[in-house]
């Protein structure tokens, strides 16, 4: 190619392009990485940036946490998500927790003494709330109209329910071939198709609870995570599948059905458990706050608490756990010196020697014996000064007070347009994006709050029709 041809191909000059023009200039323009990150991610200014999923409209015919959270993930990324609830009732999660004590009102004009519990928080954010009773034949047309105007749907009903109601993927596909359909079933299809599911069932059925908690030899039992970790985790995993389906549709123009089993999702969290069984026939055991592969690498208890005068029992009695990690030989040797047990290192010089169960029992007992007259912060300070990785086990209050989390926006205050001051930890916890960050506009809205916006403004129904459907309890 001669220079003339080359010049023809060019659409601009290198000098015109933004950015550094020489190596020196590049070096000059570089800022410290910390400063770069703060500028690039800039938590709190996400509303000034574009949304990755703007233009995608998703229906969320979901309940509780597992499936709603999948749609909330899309809404955080900019999709327009329409949450469909039962008229006057709403998602049962609104009435579920925490123990009916922390409610926000109103739920609906017809139920002035009923509100929405904090358990509903973070699972349905940025969504538009409409009502529709699918059980009534007259509602079918309304549902199909919504499907025709949408890119996808997430539902959580039992095996084949939507299919039986003629609103499953096989029916909707014929009306909207580009439609992406998520069935978030409990067990999914298979021999246990009739089983519904809850988070705890997922943790139990997938074998996760069997490897969580302390071994029975130490007085422990199979344990579930206190929070509904499988619900939250599965919701995010569904969103990953939905994004893949959206990309597939860009290539082929065709929709997809995503079948997502909650109990199946939990198996993915068991790590090497299944491969271990496959190779050796060994059933993995619980090992609680210690680690089967590394030692010392666990959570220990100190003898004294950090806040003995606190009123809150979580602080008064429980501020005494420390995570400590010193499994490499040099670190372990230093740990033994710090706790004044150099002979412990002589006994367990190699990692192979100290990772066995009897060795771990001796080692952790020695660390806790040393910590018996110390507070949590004293232990952390001493270990850190010795160059050993150690951190206090924080509670909610301390997470709230953590400067690290505040700087990153992990935990922050939202001025919810309807409900006011609201402490939140959603959106950023699923990753910071420099160009198209996740965002949180509102936590939730009352049941049917957007009926007019969606049925009138989007679908074009006359107001008289909306009122008629509302009076018949279909909306």
């Amino acid at each position: 190619m001669d220079d003339k041809e080359f010049q023809k191909l060019k659409v601009c000059d290198f000098e015109e392009l933004p950015g550094p023009k020489s190596k020196e200039e590049l070096e000059e323009m570089k800022m410290p990485f910390e400063e770069y990150c703060r500028k690039a991610f800039d938590p709190g200014n996400e509303m000034t940036k574009p949304e990755a999923l703007k233009g995608i409209r998703w229906l969320s015919t979901t309940m509780y946490i597992f499936t709603p959270h999948s749609a909330a993930n899309l809404a955080e990324l900019g999709a327009e998500v329409i949450k469909v609830e039962m008229p006057r009732m709403g998602d049962p999660m609104r009435h579920t927790s925490p123990f009916n004590e922390a409610y926000l009102y109103p739920l609906h004009d017809t139920r002035p003494m009923t509100g929405t519990g904090y358990g509903f928080a973070n699972a349905n954010i940025n969504e538009y709330y409409i009502t529709l009773d699918y059980h009534v034949p007259e509602s079918k047309r309304v549902f199909y109209d919504l499907v025709k105007m949408s890119d996808g749907l997430t539902e959580c009903y039992r095996h084949g329910t939507f299919d039986r109601w003629k609103q499953g993927y096989r029916y909707l596909l014929e009306m909207n071939p580009r439609f992406i359909y998520v069935w978030g079933g409990g067990f999914g299809y298979g021999p246990k198709i009739f089983g519904g599911s809850y988070d705890i069932l997922g943790q139990a059925h997938a074998g996760l609870a069997s490897i969580t908690g302390t071994h029975e030899d130490f007085g422990g039992h199979a344990t579930k995570c206190t929070n509904w970790c499988i619900d939250w985790y599965s919701g995010t995993q569904i969103a990953v599948a939905a994004l893949a389906a959206i990309n597939w549709r860009r290539k082929t123009g065709l929709g997809t059905m995503i079948e997502f089993s909650q109990v199946q999702a939990a198996t993915r969290m068991c790590g090497y458990t299944a491969p271990l069984y496959g190779r050796f026939g060994i059933v993995r055991q619980r090992w609680g706050n210690w680690d089967t592969q590394l030692c010392a690498h666990g959570i220990i208890m100190t003898g004294k608490v950090d806040f003995p005068d606190a009123k809150n029992p979580q602080e008064k009695f429980e501020s005494r756990y420390v995570m400590v990690s010193a499994f490499q030989d040099a670190d372990f040797k230093e740990l033994c010196n710090v706790i004044k047990k150099p002979d412990l290192f002589s006994s367990y010089k190699t990692h192979k020697e100290r990772v066995g169960a009897p060795a771990q029992i001796e080692i952790y007992k020695a660390i806790e014996d040393w910590a018996v007259d110390k507070t949590r912060s004293e232990v952390v300070k001493i270990l850190k000064e010795a160059g050993i990785l150690a951190a206090p086990v924080l509670n909610d209050k301390e997470v709230y007070e953590s400067e690290h989390f505040r700087t990153r926006g992990t935990i922050r205050w939202l001025d919810d347009p309807l409900f006011g001051d609201f402490l939140v930890h959603c959106t950023y916890s699923a990753g910071l994006l420099s160009k198209t960050p996740r965002r949180l506009r509102w936590q939730w809205r009352p049941v049917g709050a957007d009926n007019v916006k969606i049925y009138h403004d989007l679908l074009g129904y006359p107001m008289s029709t909306i009122e008629e459907l509302y009076n018949k309890n279909i909306l």
């Binding site: 123990f99 409900f419 006011g420």
Partner: protein, 161 residues
């Protein structure tokens, strides 16, 4: 886990066959008498940690301490009694349990002193089909809380964190 009392009491030659649902939180640790929503038969139960430790045992002639929250009749096409049917089921109004607070927690300010809207009861305020606006102007709609908020600001009780 929600325990039930399946009433099999014969009345008029037919069993009552009503399933009386015991709300889990109220009955987790509970001892007393529950009345069947259909026939009024009184049953004594003693529950510990959600397990039916004793009962249900019939207590003819005695008055129930509490009524079930909900009841249905599975052999009669699922006839049911919703919560709050007088003399049959007790009402359910989503109040916090008395053992915790004794009253509904209707705080109006968050821990950093800013208004937390959404206390109960809220006046009816929605439009067609339950629709409502996107923003609640607290100054206009709850002037007394707004005034309290201004006082808090003056006293320096409103913080960033």
């Amino acid at each position: 886990m929600c325990d039930i009392i399946w009433c099999k009491k014969e009345a008029g030659g037919k069993p009552c066959d009503t399933v009386n649902y015991l709300d889990p939180y109220c009955f987790w640790n509970w001892e007393g008498k529950v009345g069947c929503a259909e026939c009024g038969t009184v049953y004594y139960v003693h529950m510990i940690q959600g397990h039916m430790y004793r009962g249900p045992v019939e207590k003819p002639g005695e008055k129930p301490d509490i009524l079930p929250l909900y009841a249905d009749k599975p052999y009669k096409g699922y006839d049911f009694y919703l919560p709050g049917v007088e003399g049959r089921t007790r009402p359910f109004d989503c109040l916090p349990r008395e053992i915790y607070l004794g009253h509904a927690d209707t705080v109006k300010f968050s821990i950093r002193g800013k208004p937390l809207r959404g206390w109960r009861p809220q006046p009816p305020s929605t439009g067609v089909a339950g629709s409502c606006g996107f923003f609640w102007d607290i100054e206009k709609l709850s002037p007394e809380v707004w005034a309290e908020y201004q006082e808090k600001i003056k006293k320096g009780e409103v913080k960033d964190w």
